[in-house]
Protein backbone atom coordinates (compact mmCIF):
# COMPACT_ATOMS: atom_id res chain seq x y z
CA UNK A 1 0.00 0.00 0.00
CA UNK A 2 1.19 3.52 -0.78
CA UNK A 3 0.34 6.21 1.76
CA UNK A 4 0.18 9.77 0.48
CA UNK A 5 0.27 12.81 2.76
CA UNK A 6 -1.09 16.08 1.45
CA UNK A 7 -2.00 19.16 3.49
CA UNK A 8 -2.22 17.22 6.74
CA UNK A 9 -4.46 14.46 5.31
CA UNK A 10 -3.45 10.88 4.51
CA UNK A 11 -4.62 8.94 1.49
CA UNK A 12 -4.12 5.23 0.89
CA UNK A 13 -3.53 3.76 -2.59
CA UNK A 14 -3.81 0.00 -3.09
CA UNK A 15 -2.05 -1.88 -5.88
CA UNK A 16 0.25 -0.32 -8.46
CA UNK A 17 0.30 3.44 -8.54
CA UNK A 18 2.52 6.18 -9.92
CA UNK A 19 2.82 9.93 -9.39
CA UNK A 20 0.55 10.79 -12.32
CA UNK A 21 -2.23 8.68 -10.80
CA UNK A 22 -1.71 10.29 -7.38
CA UNK A 23 -2.03 13.77 -8.92
CA UNK A 24 -5.13 12.75 -10.87
CA UNK A 25 -6.83 11.26 -7.81
CA UNK A 26 -6.09 14.33 -5.69
CA UNK A 27 -7.09 16.73 -8.48
CA UNK A 28 -3.68 18.39 -8.66
CA UNK A 29 -1.71 19.85 -11.55
CA UNK A 30 1.92 18.92 -12.19
CA UNK A 31 2.93 22.61 -11.98
CA UNK A 32 1.53 22.99 -8.45
CA UNK A 33 3.30 20.26 -6.50
CA UNK A 34 6.28 17.95 -6.15
CA UNK A 35 6.23 14.41 -4.83
CA UNK A 36 8.85 13.38 -2.30
CA UNK A 37 9.69 9.90 -1.03
CA UNK A 38 12.33 9.30 1.64
CA UNK A 39 13.39 12.94 1.33
CA UNK A 40 14.08 12.62 -2.41
CA UNK A 41 12.19 13.92 -5.44
CA UNK A 42 9.96 11.20 -6.84
CA UNK A 43 9.64 10.94 -10.64
CA UNK A 44 5.96 10.98 -11.58
CA UNK A 45 6.33 7.94 -13.86
CA UNK A 46 7.91 5.70 -11.23
CA UNK A 47 5.65 2.75 -10.35
CA UNK A 48 5.13 2.30 -6.60
CA UNK A 49 3.67 -0.54 -4.58
CA UNK A 50 4.45 0.56 -1.05
CA UNK A 51 5.92 3.41 0.97
CA UNK A 52 5.09 6.92 2.10
CA UNK A 53 4.86 9.78 -0.37
CA UNK A 54 4.59 13.45 0.58
CA UNK A 55 2.91 15.92 -1.75
CA UNK A 56 4.73 19.24 -1.42
CA UNK A 57 2.87 22.33 -2.67
CA UNK A 58 5.16 24.71 -4.53
CA UNK A 59 2.92 27.77 -4.84
CA UNK A 60 3.68 30.37 -2.21
CA UNK A 61 3.31 34.01 -1.45
CA UNK A 62 0.51 36.47 -1.12
Amino acid sequence: MVTVTYQGKRYAFEGKVDGFKILRELGLREEEVLLVKDGKLLPLDQPLQRGEVKVIPVVSGG
Binding site: E30, K40, L41, P43, D45, V59, S60, G61, G62
Partner: protein
Protein backbone atom coordinates in the same frame (compact mmCIF):
# COMPACT_ATOMS: atom_id res chain seq x y z
CA UNK B 1 12.17 9.13 -18.05
CA UNK B 2 15.88 9.76 -18.66
CA UNK B 3 17.91 12.86 -17.86
CA UNK B 4 18.43 14.96 -21.00
CA UNK B 5 21.88 16.04 -19.81
CA UNK B 6 23.48 12.79 -18.54
CA UNK B 7 21.13 9.91 -19.42
CA UNK B 8 20.62 8.82 -15.78
CA UNK B 9 17.16 8.22 -14.31
CA UNK B 10 15.39 11.61 -14.27
CA UNK B 11 13.54 12.84 -11.17
CA UNK B 12 11.64 15.73 -12.73
CA UNK B 13 10.37 16.81 -16.10
CA UNK B 14 10.29 20.49 -17.02
CA UNK B 15 7.72 20.78 -19.77
CA UNK B 16 8.45 24.46 -20.45
CA UNK B 17 11.97 23.46 -21.50
CA UNK B 18 10.93 20.08 -22.94
CA UNK B 19 13.45 18.24 -20.77
CA UNK B 20 13.68 15.78 -17.89
CA UNK B 21 16.58 15.97 -15.42
CA UNK B 22 18.22 13.94 -12.68
CA UNK B 23 18.90 15.55 -9.31
CA UNK B 24 22.49 16.63 -10.05
CA UNK B 25 21.68 18.00 -13.50
CA UNK B 26 18.63 19.84 -12.13
CA UNK B 27 20.94 21.73 -9.78
CA UNK B 28 23.32 22.51 -12.64
CA UNK B 29 20.39 23.59 -14.83
CA UNK B 30 19.16 26.04 -12.15
CA UNK B 31 22.69 27.41 -11.63
CA UNK B 32 22.90 28.07 -15.39
CA UNK B 33 19.48 29.79 -15.42
CA UNK B 34 20.55 32.07 -12.58
CA UNK B 35 23.91 32.77 -14.23
CA UNK B 36 22.06 33.63 -17.45
CA UNK B 37 19.70 36.02 -15.63
CA UNK B 38 22.66 37.70 -13.89
CA UNK B 39 24.50 38.10 -17.21
CA UNK B 40 21.57 39.02 -19.50
CA UNK B 41 19.99 41.53 -17.12
CA UNK B 42 23.25 42.72 -15.52
CA UNK B 43 21.92 41.87 -12.07
CA UNK B 44 25.24 41.88 -10.27
CA UNK B 45 28.42 43.67 -11.29
CA UNK B 46 31.93 42.54 -10.37
CA UNK B 47 32.77 43.72 -6.85
CA UNK B 48 29.17 44.22 -5.77
CA UNK B 49 28.24 42.55 -2.49
CA UNK B 50 24.73 41.07 -2.30
CA UNK B 51 22.48 41.21 0.74
CA UNK B 52 19.80 38.53 0.42
CA UNK B 53 16.44 39.24 2.03
CA UNK B 54 15.51 35.84 3.48
CA UNK B 55 12.11 34.73 4.70
CA UNK B 56 12.97 31.12 5.54
CA UNK B 57 11.12 29.97 2.40
CA UNK B 58 12.41 27.97 -0.57
CA UNK B 59 13.13 30.89 -2.90
CA UNK B 60 15.10 33.19 -0.64
CA UNK B 61 17.17 30.40 0.92
CA UNK B 62 17.82 28.91 -2.51
CA UNK B 63 18.95 32.19 -4.04
CA UNK B 64 21.31 32.66 -1.09
CA UNK B 65 22.64 29.13 -1.68
CA UNK B 66 22.98 29.77 -5.43
CA UNK B 67 24.85 33.05 -5.03
CA UNK B 68 27.35 31.26 -2.79
CA UNK B 69 27.68 28.49 -5.38
CA UNK B 70 28.35 31.12 -8.03
CA UNK B 71 31.10 32.71 -5.93
CA UNK B 72 29.36 35.77 -4.51
CA UNK B 73 30.01 36.81 -0.92
CA UNK B 74 26.38 37.20 0.08
CA UNK B 75 25.06 38.09 3.53
CA UNK B 76 21.48 37.54 4.68
CA UNK B 77 18.84 39.75 6.23
CA UNK B 78 15.85 38.30 8.06
CA UNK B 79 13.00 40.58 9.10
CA UNK B 80 10.96 39.26 12.04
CA UNK B 81 7.47 40.57 11.32
CA UNK B 82 5.90 39.73 14.66
CA UNK B 83 3.29 37.44 13.10
CA UNK B 84 3.02 34.98 15.99
CA UNK B 85 4.70 31.59 15.84
CA UNK B 86 4.93 31.81 12.05
CA UNK B 87 7.60 34.51 12.34
CA UNK B 88 9.51 32.53 14.99
CA UNK B 89 9.52 29.38 12.85
CA UNK B 90 10.62 31.33 9.77
CA UNK B 91 13.47 32.93 11.71
CA UNK B 92 14.53 29.52 12.94
CA UNK B 93 14.70 28.18 9.34
CA UNK B 94 16.81 31.18 8.26
CA UNK B 95 19.13 30.79 11.25
CA UNK B 96 19.55 27.04 10.70
CA UNK B 97 20.47 27.64 7.06
CA UNK B 98 23.00 30.38 7.87
CA UNK B 99 24.60 28.52 10.77
CA UNK B 100 24.99 25.28 8.81
CA UNK B 101 26.90 27.17 6.11
CA UNK B 102 28.78 29.67 8.26
CA UNK B 103 26.98 32.62 6.63
CA UNK B 104 26.35 36.01 8.18
CA UNK B 105 22.68 36.63 9.00
CA UNK B 106 21.40 39.97 10.26
CA UNK B 107 18.03 39.93 12.02
CA UNK B 108 15.77 42.99 12.19
CA UNK B 109 12.68 42.94 14.39
CA UNK B 110 9.69 45.04 13.38
CA UNK B 111 8.76 45.32 17.07
CA UNK B 112 12.09 47.05 17.80
CA UNK B 113 11.10 49.89 15.47
CA UNK B 114 7.45 50.22 16.48
CA UNK B 115 7.30 50.32 20.27
CA UNK B 116 6.91 46.56 20.54
CA UNK B 117 4.18 46.23 17.92
CA UNK B 118 4.24 43.63 15.13
CA UNK B 119 2.54 43.68 11.73
CA UNK B 120 -0.94 42.53 12.94
CA UNK B 121 -1.10 45.28 15.60
CA UNK B 122 0.27 47.92 13.21
CA UNK B 123 -2.38 46.98 10.63
CA UNK B 124 -5.12 47.46 13.22
CA UNK B 125 -3.58 50.72 14.41
CA UNK B 126 -3.35 52.13 10.88
CA UNK B 127 -6.60 50.51 9.66
CA UNK B 128 -4.86 49.08 6.62
CA UNK B 129 -4.55 45.49 5.35
CA UNK B 130 -1.64 43.64 7.01
CA UNK B 131 -0.04 42.92 3.60
CA UNK B 132 0.04 46.63 2.79
CA UNK B 133 1.75 47.53 6.09
CA UNK B 134 4.07 44.53 5.80
CA UNK B 135 5.17 45.46 2.27
CA UNK B 136 5.94 49.04 3.26
CA UNK B 137 7.84 48.07 6.43
CA UNK B 138 9.84 45.32 4.70
CA UNK B 139 10.78 47.55 1.74
CA UNK B 140 11.99 50.25 4.15
CA UNK B 141 14.05 47.94 6.37
CA UNK B 142 15.51 45.98 3.44
CA UNK B 143 16.54 49.15 1.63
CA UNK B 144 17.98 50.72 4.79
CA UNK B 145 20.12 47.65 5.58
CA UNK B 146 21.39 47.32 2.00
CA UNK B 147 21.94 51.05 1.49
CA UNK B 148 23.81 51.62 4.75
CA UNK B 149 25.90 48.50 4.19
CA UNK B 150 26.77 49.44 0.59
CA UNK B 151 25.14 46.23 -0.63
CA UNK B 152 22.93 45.18 -3.54
CA UNK B 153 19.59 43.99 -2.24
CA UNK B 154 18.69 40.54 -3.57
CA UNK B 155 15.19 39.09 -3.28
CA UNK B 156 13.93 35.59 -4.09
CA UNK B 157 11.17 36.62 -6.50
CA UNK B 158 10.78 33.82 -9.03
CA UNK B 159 9.20 33.69 -12.49
CA UNK B 160 5.74 32.86 -11.09
CA UNK B 161 5.91 35.85 -8.71
CA UNK B 162 6.91 38.17 -11.54
CA UNK B 163 4.24 36.82 -13.89
CA UNK B 164 1.51 37.20 -11.24
CA UNK B 165 2.56 40.80 -10.55
CA UNK B 166 2.84 41.59 -14.26
CA UNK B 167 -0.56 40.04 -14.97
CA UNK B 168 -2.18 42.15 -12.24
CA UNK B 169 -0.56 45.31 -13.59
CA UNK B 170 -1.59 44.50 -17.16
CA UNK B 171 -5.20 43.86 -16.14
CA UNK B 172 -5.42 47.46 -14.98
CA UNK B 173 -2.76 48.81 -17.38
CA UNK B 174 -0.86 50.39 -14.54
CA UNK B 175 1.76 52.05 -16.69
CA UNK B 176 3.80 53.38 -13.80
CA UNK B 177 4.12 49.95 -12.19
CA UNK B 178 4.83 48.34 -15.58
CA UNK B 179 7.64 50.81 -16.22
CA UNK B 180 9.20 49.93 -12.87
CA UNK B 181 8.89 46.11 -13.02
CA UNK B 182 12.42 44.98 -13.83
CA UNK B 183 14.89 42.27 -12.78
CA UNK B 184 17.21 45.04 -11.53
CA UNK B 185 16.27 48.45 -10.21
CA UNK B 186 19.20 50.85 -10.18
CA UNK B 187 20.64 52.69 -7.22
CA UNK B 188 19.44 56.23 -6.51
CA UNK B 189 20.12 58.70 -3.70
CA UNK B 190 18.96 56.88 -0.55
CA UNK B 191 18.03 53.75 -2.49
CA UNK B 192 20.14 50.58 -2.80
CA UNK B 193 20.05 48.70 -6.12
CA UNK B 194 17.62 45.75 -6.05
CA UNK B 195 17.90 42.55 -8.07
CA UNK B 196 15.93 39.33 -8.61
CA UNK B 197 18.23 36.52 -9.83
CA UNK B 198 15.43 33.89 -9.93
CA UNK B 199 13.28 35.61 -12.57
CA UNK B 200 13.99 32.87 -15.13
CA UNK B 201 13.15 30.01 -12.74
CA UNK B 202 9.65 28.82 -11.91
CA UNK B 203 8.35 28.25 -8.42
CA UNK B 204 8.30 24.48 -9.02
CA UNK B 205 11.89 24.48 -10.29
CA UNK B 206 12.97 26.37 -7.17
CA UNK B 207 11.14 24.00 -4.82
CA UNK B 208 12.77 21.07 -6.61
CA UNK B 209 16.18 22.76 -6.32
CA UNK B 210 15.68 23.36 -2.59
CA UNK B 211 14.62 19.76 -1.94
CA UNK B 212 17.45 18.31 -4.01
CA UNK B 213 19.98 20.49 -2.16
CA UNK B 214 18.58 19.43 1.21
CA UNK B 215 17.59 22.99 2.09
CA UNK B 216 15.36 22.82 5.17
CA UNK B 217 12.91 25.58 4.26
CA UNK B 218 9.62 26.49 5.92
CA UNK B 219 6.61 25.14 4.04
CA UNK B 220 4.13 27.08 6.13
CA UNK B 221 2.61 30.14 4.50
CA UNK B 222 2.02 33.52 6.12
CA UNK B 223 -1.48 33.33 7.69
CA UNK B 224 -2.37 36.65 6.05
CA UNK B 225 -1.68 35.33 2.53
CA UNK B 226 -4.84 33.16 2.43
CA UNK B 227 -7.12 34.23 -0.40
CA UNK B 228 -4.55 36.67 -1.82
CA UNK B 229 -5.19 37.85 -5.39
CA UNK B 230 -1.66 36.89 -6.42
CA UNK B 231 -2.42 33.25 -5.49
CA UNK B 232 -5.50 33.34 -7.70
CA UNK B 233 -3.40 34.71 -10.58
CA UNK B 234 -0.81 31.99 -10.01
CA UNK B 235 -3.54 29.37 -10.21
CA UNK B 236 -4.74 30.83 -13.52
CA UNK B 237 -1.21 30.84 -14.87
CA UNK B 238 -0.62 27.23 -13.84
CA UNK B 239 -3.72 26.28 -15.84
CA UNK B 240 -2.36 28.21 -18.81
CA UNK B 241 1.09 26.66 -18.40
CA UNK B 242 -0.43 23.18 -18.42
CA UNK B 243 -2.12 23.86 -21.74
CA UNK B 244 0.78 25.80 -23.19
CA UNK B 245 4.14 24.92 -21.60
CA UNK B 246 6.49 27.92 -21.52
CA UNK B 247 3.65 30.48 -21.42
CA UNK B 248 4.95 32.11 -18.22
CA UNK B 249 8.45 32.51 -19.58
CA UNK B 250 7.22 33.92 -22.92
CA UNK B 251 4.86 36.38 -21.20
CA UNK B 252 7.62 37.69 -18.91
CA UNK B 253 10.50 37.79 -21.39
CA UNK B 254 8.39 39.42 -24.10
CA UNK B 255 7.24 42.02 -21.58
CA UNK B 256 10.87 42.88 -20.79
CA UNK B 257 11.41 43.51 -24.50
CA UNK B 258 8.64 46.14 -24.61
CA UNK B 259 8.93 47.48 -21.08
CA UNK B 260 10.59 50.67 -22.32
CA UNK B 261 7.28 51.63 -23.96
CA UNK B 262 5.71 52.16 -20.56
CA UNK B 263 6.66 55.47 -19.05
CA UNK B 264 5.50 57.44 -16.11
CA UNK B 265 6.78 60.66 -14.71
CA UNK B 266 9.23 59.85 -11.94
CA UNK B 267 7.77 60.69 -8.52
CA UNK B 268 9.48 63.72 -6.95
CA UNK B 269 11.39 62.26 -4.05
CA UNK B 270 12.71 64.25 -1.12
CA UNK B 271 14.53 63.19 2.04
CA UNK B 272 12.21 62.29 4.93
CA UNK B 273 12.45 65.00 7.58
CA UNK B 274 12.92 62.37 10.25
CA UNK B 275 15.08 59.57 8.80
CA UNK B 276 16.45 61.11 5.59
CA UNK B 277 15.39 58.24 3.30
CA UNK B 278 13.55 59.19 0.08
CA UNK B 279 9.82 59.86 0.23
CA UNK B 280 7.18 61.78 -1.68
CA UNK B 281 5.89 63.49 1.48
CA UNK B 282 7.57 65.40 4.31
CA UNK B 283 7.54 62.38 6.60
CA UNK B 284 7.90 58.89 5.10
CA UNK B 285 5.26 56.22 5.79
CA UNK B 286 7.64 54.27 8.01
CA UNK B 287 8.37 57.24 10.30
CA UNK B 288 4.72 58.30 10.32
CA UNK B 289 3.69 54.82 11.47
CA UNK B 290 6.54 54.70 14.00
CA UNK B 291 5.27 57.97 15.51
CA UNK B 292 1.70 56.64 15.66
CA UNK B 293 2.87 53.47 17.42
CA UNK B 294 4.75 55.37 20.13
CA UNK B 295 3.35 54.63 23.58
CA UNK B 296 0.70 52.21 22.25
CA UNK B 297 2.00 49.19 24.10
CA UNK B 298 3.03 50.92 27.28
CA UNK B 299 6.58 51.24 26.01
CA UNK B 300 8.41 54.53 26.46
CA UNK B 301 7.80 56.94 23.51
Amino acid sequence: MRCRMCGQRAVIRLRSHNIALCEGCLQEFIRRRVKKAIKDYRLLQPGERPLVAVSGGKDSLSVWDLLGELGFEAGGLYIHLGIGDYSDRSEEAARRFAEARGLELRVERVADHFSGLGIPELARLDRRPPCSICGMVKRYLMNKAAYEGGRVLVTGHNLDDEVATLFGNVLDWKEGYLSRQAPRLPAAPGLAPRTKPLVLCTEREMAAYAISRGIDYILEECPFSRGATSLFYKDLWNQLEERSPGAKLRFYQNFLRVRHLFREEEPRLQPCQSCGFPTTTELCNFCRLRDRAKGKKGNPP
